[in-house]
């Protein structure tokens, strides 16, 4: 379980997060949504220990993120950052293989290699496995990095806008893949998402942030109402229902 207690963050005198209290139990997909500047990525980087905590406390399975050794956390929690720049002269297979690093520290066992192979197939990367990452398109590169994060094999996955650069086919495949590991392997995924309808279809829970505060938290059905959406995003949008799931017509 990831527990966020009383977390606040400010940059100079500008508050970015204000008194966030959240607990994310094991299993399921949680989507973090909100307008630009709501504090989603800041909250993300605090949970991912990319930025020091100023106030409050965050624990992953009772381990405080700011004092637990990085490697111990890396065996529980994998992170994927938006547009993470990656060195160029590395092949897709090498990049994906780095996902196993927290487990073997540079000496991959047969099991690690098998997991890398599985991740390559899962993300449709076998034909690209020996290509250098700088010869790939943005979407292919994103898939390689996502595959690396999956390959880390952690209970918790923290993904910051993983659908960036992905086409519809691969975006759907990634969300389905997340759904599968959440359902079958009790993994937990926390995703910062811009596409509200992806959240509507695949997430178990949606947490909405605005101005550094949690302003809505619940199942897609609870959160994705016209009133809530207006208070989150600042304009009125129609919500339809298809096959029992909310469908937000945000672009009209």
């Amino acid at each position: 379980m990831i527990v966020i207690e009383n977390v606040s963050l400010s940059h100079r005198d500008t508050p970015i997060l204000r008194d966030i209290d959240l607990s994310l139990p094991r299993g399921g997909i949680t989507a973090l949504v909100g307008p630009n500047g709501a504090g989603k990525s800041s909250l993300f980087s605090l949970i991912a220990r990319l930025q020091p905590l100023q106030k409050g406390r965050i624990t992953v399975d009772d381990m405080p993120v700011d004092t637990t050794p990085s490697r111990t956390l890396a065996q529980r929690l994998a992170i994927l950052r938006q547009d993470g720049a990656v060195a160029n002269r590395l092949t897709v297979r090498e990049i994906v293989g780095f996902g196993r690093f927290p487990h073997h520290r540079g000496r991959p066992a047969a099991e690690d290699l098998a997991l890398v192979d599985a991740a390559l197939s899962e993300f449709d990367l076998h034909s690209l496995a020996d290509r250098f990452i700088d010869t790939l398109s943005g979407g292919q590169r994103q898939r390689a990095i996502v595959a690396m994060t999956f390959c880390q094999g952690t209970d918790y996955l923290l993904l910051d806008e993983p659908l960036n650069n992905l086409d519809m086919f691969h975006a759907r495949q990634l969300m389905r893949c997340l759904r599968t590991i959440a359902d079958e392997r009790q993994r937990t995924a926390i995703i910062v998402l811009h596409d509200i309808n992806q959240a509507a279809s695949y997430a178990d829970r949606i947490v909405a942030l605005r101005d550094g505060r949690v302003i809505a938290d619940g199942t897609p059905d609870d959160v994705l109402t016209e009133d809530h959406l207006e208070s989150i995003f600042g304009y009125r949008m129609k919500v339809e229902h298809m096959n029992g799931k909310p469908f937000v017509l945000h672009h009209l």
Binding site: R49, A74, I79, G84, V86, A87, L90, G99, Q152
Partner: protein
């Protein structure tokens, strides 16, 4: 095939070493060989330090066009030499105990690096800010040495000039061996960190995500860089000029960023360039130029040829 490339590099390096030892061998063979072996040891030590320190530095800073000289260590060395000559005069400078001088120089340079790294560790200061501080301090030291050189008499200034280029002709055996031991230790540590280096090369956030404790690792690697640079600079003078060339060549030849291949390739290329360059300088050009000029000229040509070859593919 990476392995075949490595064998070719090793073979060329071996040829360079053999040529350096044997070309124009005459007179008292044993004496000459002893002299050349000492010089060779210094050349190897410097080549490996520069190659390894530049690769480490570029990996930690995630920047392929930087060299450790941006930390201002060689500028501090130069300022130290100028200040010593200014204070003691040419004769006093020449009669300084080489061992004490070597030790003091190494410690001073590592102290400067420590001072730069301190805020990085204590307050998690941004690494780019730290590098900028290094640039500024380097500029300060350079300007100070320029100011002092203007005040020197011409004889003393000539000594400053000699001290500001790498010099492999006035080596003390004991210091060379001591320097080589320190370098070897630092190289062993770097080699053992080769897998972590691959991860560090992915950038700060990805590395943290994969379980690297960033501040400790980055500071440790930068300290390693400082030790390597300090020892070779104190031994022969400022030599970081060709680190950039070596690191870029290694990456192009090996076509990978895995440090298990990159580190040895860079070291071999540095040996080829430095030992080969010194042989060429002594026997081809009759010692008419400085090694720096030879290296930059030949190395630059090789680099251009590689770029050209690659763009045609």
């Amino acid at each position: 095939m990476p392995d075949r490339r490595m064998i070719v590099l090793a073979a060329i390096a071996l040829i360079a070493v053999l040529l350096f030892l044997t070309v124009g061998l005459r007179g008292n063979v044993q004496f000459v060989l002893q002299l050349r072996a000492l010089k060779l040891l210094a050349l190897l030590q410097v080549a490996i330090s520069i190659a390894v320190s530049t690769v480490l530095f570029q990996t930690v800073t995630a920047n392929r066009i930087l060299t450790p000289s941006i930390m201002g260590l060689d500028a501090l060395y130069l300022f130290g030499q100028t200040a010593l000559i200014f204070a003691l005069g040419g004769f006093g400078y020449a009669s300084l105990d080489a061992g004490t001088k070597f030790g003091a120089e190494v410690l001073l340079m590592i102290a400067l690096a420590g001072a730069l790294l301190w805020p990085l560790i204590r307050t998690r200061m941004d690494m780019n800010l730290m590098l900028l501080m290094g640039v500024t301090l380097g500029l300060l030291f350079r300007s100070l040495s320029q100011l002092l050189s203007r005040l020197l008499d011409p004889n003393a200034f000539a000594i400053v000039q000699t001290a500001s280029f790498a010099n492999f002709n006035m080596l003390r055996a004991d210091l060379t061996i001591l320097g080589t031991i320190i370098t070897l230790a630092a190289v062993v540590v770097s080699w053992r960190a080769r897998h972590v280096l691959d991860i560090v090369g992915l950038g700060r956030e990805a590395a943290i995500g994969l379980g690297v404790s960033w501040i400790r690792t980055a500071a440790g690697l930068l300290l390693l860089v400082a030790i390597l640079v300090a020892v070779s600079t104190a031994l022969v003078g400022p030599v970081v000029f060709f680190g950039l060339l070596v690191a870029a060549l290694a990456e192009r030849v090996m076509r990978t960023q895995r440090h298990a291949l990159l580190l040895p390739a860079a070291a071999l290329i540095a040996i080829i360039i430095l030992v080969g360059g010194q042989t060429l300088l002594q026997h081809g050009l009759g010692g008419a130029s400085t090694l720096g000029v030879v290296i930059e000229f030949v190395g630059g040509l090789v680099f251009l040829a590689l770029l050209f070859h690659e763009s045609r593919k």
